[in-house]
Amino acid sequence: MSYSKSIGSRWIIMLGVIGGLFISSCGESSTDDAMTDASAISEGATEEQVGRVKKIFYAIPSPVEMVSLIQDMGSRYDYSVLNKVENRTKYNTAKSKAVNLGIYGADLSYTSVFNQNQESILYMSCAKQLADDLGISGAFSDATMARVEENLENRDSLLHIITETYYELDAYLKENDRSNISAQVITGGWLEGLYLASKMVEKSGKGNELSSRLIDQKYALKDLIALNEANNKDGSLDDILVDLKALESVYDGADSDNSTVETSVDADGKVTLGGGPAATMSDAAMDELIALAKEIRTKYVM
């Protein structure tokens, strides 16, 4: 696919040069935010006009992946742990709508992974309404909602539709310079995944695989804090950062060795990443983490 052919007529290049010069005269940001940096570079700009800034992305594991892990480890479905759908009308600020759009997304992932079709429709509807309120309804189009209803019995297809919908939503926010809202949605989804996992550990007991995955969240948290810091130009993420850093201080109590990653390839050509750091946490620290995850999550859903 040739990008230059699709937009490459001469008049567009001319306008790009003018646009690039205009942006340059306003002072190009030196931030590392990928979408901002990228959009400051115009087709046809000369090499002298282009400042090089390394683009840095912070990808956070999706809530779908977290709840799939919860199911894989034998946890039973528990509707009572999810954010109540009737709470939706309580969210009156852009921040509370964005964070709970992420939280409802994680809950939607949970109901879908466990094949709870009616609940999935309810949570999809909640997410759509919050997205509409935030002016990002495109991702939850009528066509998307119809696809959800058509695929309720097909778990894998449903999970693909959900992740694609949230992907579209994230793309829309980032390309419209609303990366702070994107960070709030992503943080809400991660917090709900952490909360759901912690509730399951409460039931199943510590020292199992699920509690290990809960400890493993320390790595994703590191990236999540970096993501929020990179998008906090207006201070709208200050409160979230306080909460995330409180969680980080609990995770600082987790022990971690520093062994390097070893790559192995089996006879079938399958590649495995072995080794790497292994984190452990005392029961007391785990209790503290579970309590704090609940406290922070409760603050956002109420």
Partner: protein
């Protein structure tokens, strides 16, 4: 004024182009892997670098896919661990993706490098680059 307005809109159009490119040309290449929900795309130019930080969970199978527009040329990429040790390098791969499973949860960095090249008219061409991460659902 109209020209300036159109000039200012161009980056937005380019960004939308990147979103469409990713949706049409990149996500299908993930195949059976469920995509991560984060949009990690940027408009790059020759000589640019980008990196993505991500946590990969123990016991999961992943595909990391690098998807770029042809105008950028052969974009090189490598995966490194938290300590900077190279895990994979695209120089040793035939495909623009890597499939692997993970024994222990760990942070991995994906580095992209767009080849630098001289332009006869000193103009720089840009193209979309996307990093996609998908995990495999266990039946």
């Amino acid at each position: 004024m109209i020209i300036i307005m159109l000039g200012l809109m161009l980056p937005i159009l380019a960004s939308s182009q990147c979103r469409r490119f990713t949706k049409v040309s990149c996500i299908p290449a993930l195949g059976e892997y469920v995509p991560n929900e984060n949009f990690n795309s940027a408009i790059l130019i020759p000589g640019d670098e980008a990196e993505l930080m991500m946590t990969f969970y123990a016991g999961q199978d992943y595909r990391v896919l690098i998807c770029t527009e042809d105008i950028l040329g052969e974009v090189g990429f490598k995966l490194t661990d938290d300590g900077g040790k190279t895990i994979f390098n695209s120089e040793n791969l035939d495909a623009a993706f890597m499939d692997f499973s993970v024994d222990h949860t760990q942070q991995v960095k994906v580095n992209l490098t767009v080849p630098d090249r001289a332009s006869p008219n000193n103009l720089v061409h840009q193209g979309c680059a996307t990093v996609l991460v998908g995990y495999k659902e266990k039946g």
